[in-house]
Symmetry: D2
Subunit: 337 residues, 4 copies
């Protein structure tokens, strides 16, 4: 890290700044330049509060080169992480389809959907039991019962399941769920991250609606620093000024993530667009841009869905998406394991 | 709510839509217009999934007039809610200063700060014990110990205290804390909202960094629908493209909120700007625009603060802010009770 | 358009509103509902100022169904517009590569680049002569001389050329340029739009960095209403909070545009990302999502470029992009004519 | 400027980078640090394309300390610029009211409004003759005739006038207009800036709807570098995700600008909110935060306005705003000259 210090500042102030930094075991070097003094800092930068340094009135500016995350960084681990979910692989060239309804609504609904999706070639079944809803008056999910129906669907099809966890108190209920999902609103629920990071399960970490990529990777770092190795990132759109989509799917984030981290990343075109008619195009774009999977909402009868019906595609549309996505895979050197 | 339906759609589809709406006990009326059919829906709109209706391919558009929140709405309660915190009033013309360090760092730090702030005229002391931090490697707060020091500061000064709660599991620890703060990242932690809403304590609800005003009021609705009456909203800036401030303080939200809701709203210029030099200007603007209070970070020695030092003002700067804020109060018909 | 009026408003106010609307030759219908009065308006809605109606204190809300653009609308013209640039087709299943340097720097630079791009399979050459630059101190382009070099490159390769026009006064200078580009900053330079719309040349209209899709199509409408038939839209990224890309390429806009308009739309991954390393991924995503072309910055020696060097790819990288893009084309039923 | 270079890069690459920088007359210094090589650059930084340097694959990062604008910078001119408009002063402690209708609609309308505003204490009259409108079908202003009516209003009241110029071709028509306004959409119409900068008239430069403060000041720099000395900045709101205001008035920009530049800055609460009901609160906030003036839309009969009626206040509401604004002025050490 480089700190640029005012050229003619009082020498005591500079000394005091250097002392405060070195006290934490970091090393500093000082160079006199024409317009400022360069203070180079090396060592464990997490020990210092960068903002507090910036607050110092002799400081002109700061430039950090190293990323604030370590375990998630590509620099720390060159090879792609391949997450294995009951034999289905995600990352390192392995592409994965995750599909299912937004919310589990009944045993019949989830089991029948699962059977259709299994036939269609899906690797992992999704379904929400605890639904974080903007309004307290909206359907909040079936809760424990929903998880039971997911287990039933898993039993009948052999498909592993992913479902969102919204509170540390629910952890015990998720024993039969294969992948824990942290939703967009939970991405910075750090107490939840600390707990699920210890769960020994793969975790699907959605990007918060206005998170920067750095903030997202720092949330992944919370999980990794608890011992979790299997984090799947999920891009699901960011909030912008454009009203025609519910969120703007940030597909540029995929190549950026591929540089910054070894973790696999999938794309959720359903929540991003909020509109079933755009799901196919965005799925194809997601594959082409380099994502390791797509997560698509499928509902046998979208118009009667209890939540987010507008964005769910029918199983027959899903078949069509699946077919074209798999045609693009070889072009970008990916395969379904 | 008005649903605009395609003029020449199949009559069975329209009937089926009407049936699905009326099944929930709502009433519909139909009018034929030149370009579309108008379907007017009245009754408890929370029963229907607006997005699912929008997904219907005969639907051209939807216009909702009533707000999706009830208890928080000015329509439901005309008179301003006045929150009483151990005798200090917020709302209904009563202005309130909340001040203190970002994080409690030691007993000495918080007690001495509290004594100075008491003298300066502050009504409520703030201090973080559980700190939600973007990086797992940043100082996470003193936790239980921090709460203890806050109690000590309260005992020595008589100032009521506000502190942030970040998990349902912490509720018991907050028994001596007078106001529970829900931070920006917790605004849509619905499980937490449901629990603290039952706590019988006033709640300070910060706006999430990219929340719309409607989403914010729906989070307040979560609290109110659990029986909580004393919700204080806190505007703390939204994320925009402008990099000179950490967040853009959305002062326009204050007059909008004054129309939409009876709840008091305060302004946090410290977290918004992330820069102590801008805190005074933004505090004056906050009062002038109609806020019911300001929450300002004060630290005896900002440069050594363990978190967010860049934005904390010294007690002497705070005195200066206090003086000018109180000069504006009579102009906008507010007072400190 | 539907106007929702307060149930018990003074009848004179409602009458006066209706009069003001009908005076412009529009037709109104009134229906009494439980919670409001519905006023349905049909006819030429461009005659009324929607915002002024909304300002009326008896108005609860407005819902417009028809789009504010007509000539650009898919409703007005079902079949895709195919723009023909000296025999190269864009739209209606015809895909097009536009490539070249950000700025024309010398005759040698543009002619040699053009020769390489011709060989690589490019249909149209791009190159900036008048460069709109954020700073008055940055290189502003070679101006007239740059246009001359472009003509030379066209003569030597037969490639048609596109270049940005930044002022009405430049029109005469662009006689040998085949496609006039309106840059992002010019999208709402309405005086310029009115003039170039009369030029009888195809126009490439970039999206402004914070334009909504509706605003963009209204700028296209300015061109079309002047008699221009050949408008090519160009998505080049929108401004968001994410700092890793210069702008966030809004690929979701492509399927939305395909519904709303008959005009072809291409994608500019170079300006969006501002980073050559991401151009290939974003180009593939652009094709897959349904764009009718890509516009890519190519520079023989990006590190010495006089502007935007960071985003230019070398001719050899371009060849690689070309190869993979053309492999995706048949999957989405597109071809290069 | 500091360039951080990879530690073990090929020495030829570093030499080549240094050569390219020094060729432009800049000076470099090199220091070896533990994690990187620091290359310090001093001199006229406008000579190098920072983005091109960043594109160099041996470059880890860049930190610029000096601002990219010079003439607009507070560093270049410590004392506040005071703009004098026919004797009315703006800046340096002098506060100014600018008011009038969005568009000039008739001689009667503008003259009568001017008379009322003169009585109310206004210093400068505003009125649009050339209106940049999102839709080609909206009222585009009265053009030349509108300017004539403005002259008439000026003659009858003695009030100087400000009006927006939208094309270089209009300059001659504005001879009797005292202040040329560059609208938000024109802020980066650089050809227009270059021309009006030579006009010897004060210029009111609005912030583009998604401009950063730096971009805005660079547009001011375009004007100043043409010899113009009298630039008044005008904050009019930025585009965010919040739908209740048309734009989010960025009041935080005011204290930031007060540090960065010597130019006066005013606030336009009317265009920002798009809603007359919020104009008073935002005006008071604008004064309190440190603006040097407010520009308010006033219309004798907002409901019949031909453009932007929703945001115009009546003369009587304006009187009320004026009264309370002037009560805040002494608190922040400002006065009306």
């Amino acid at each position: 890290m480089i700190i640029l210090v005012k050229k003619n500042c009082e020498i005591e102030k500079l000394d005091s700044l250097i002392n405060r930094i070195e006290r934490h075991g970091l090393k500093t070097d000082t160079f006199n330049c024409e317009d400022y003094v360069v203070l180079s800092v090396s060592g464990d930068l997490s020990k210092i509060d960068v903002e507090a340094v910036r607050a110092n009135d002799i400081v002109l500016g700061i430039k950090r080169v190293t990323e604030p995350f370590y375990l998630a960084s590509r620099k720390n681990k060159k090879r792609d992480t391949v997450v294995d979910v009951c034999g289905r692989k995600i990352g390192g060239g392995n592409f994965c389809f995750i599909a299912g309804p937004c919310a589990v609504e009944s045993e019949k609904q989830i089991v029948e959907t699962a059977i259709q999706l299994k036939k269609a070639g899906v690797q992992i079944l999704r379904g929400g039991a605890f639904k974080p809803r903007t309004s307290p008056y909206s359907f909040q999910g079936l809760g424990v019962e929903g998880l039971k129906y997911l287990s039933q669907a898993k039993k009948e099809t052999g498909l592993p399941v992913v479902s969102e966890i919204t509170s540390v108190n629910q952890l015990d209920l998720f024993s039969d769920i294969d992948v824990l999902q942290i939703g967009a609103r939970g991405m910075q629920n750090f107490e939840l991250l600390k707990e699920v990071g210890k769960s020994n399960k793969p975790i699907l970490l959605k990007r918060a609606i206005s998170a920067t990529i750095e903030e997202w990777l720092l949330s992944a770092e919370y999980l990794l620093s608890q011992g979790c190795k299997d984090v799947i990132l999920c891009e699901r759109g960011i909030r912008t000024h454009e009203p025609t989509s519910r969120a703007t799917l940030d597909l540029s984030s995929i190549p950026v993530l591929k540089e910054l981290t070894h973790l696999p990343v999938i794309v959720d075109p359903s929540h991003a667009s909020g509109n079933a008619r755009y799901v196919k195009s965005l799925s194809l774009a997601g594959v082409a841009v380099g994502a390791d999977g797509v997560m698509i909402e499928v509902h046998p009868s979208p118009e009667t869905a209890l939540s987010d019906g507008a964005q769910a595609v029918t199983p027959s549309v899903f078949n069509d998406i699946y077919k074209d996505v798999t045609r693009i895979l070889p072009i970008i050197n990916k395969r379904i394991d």
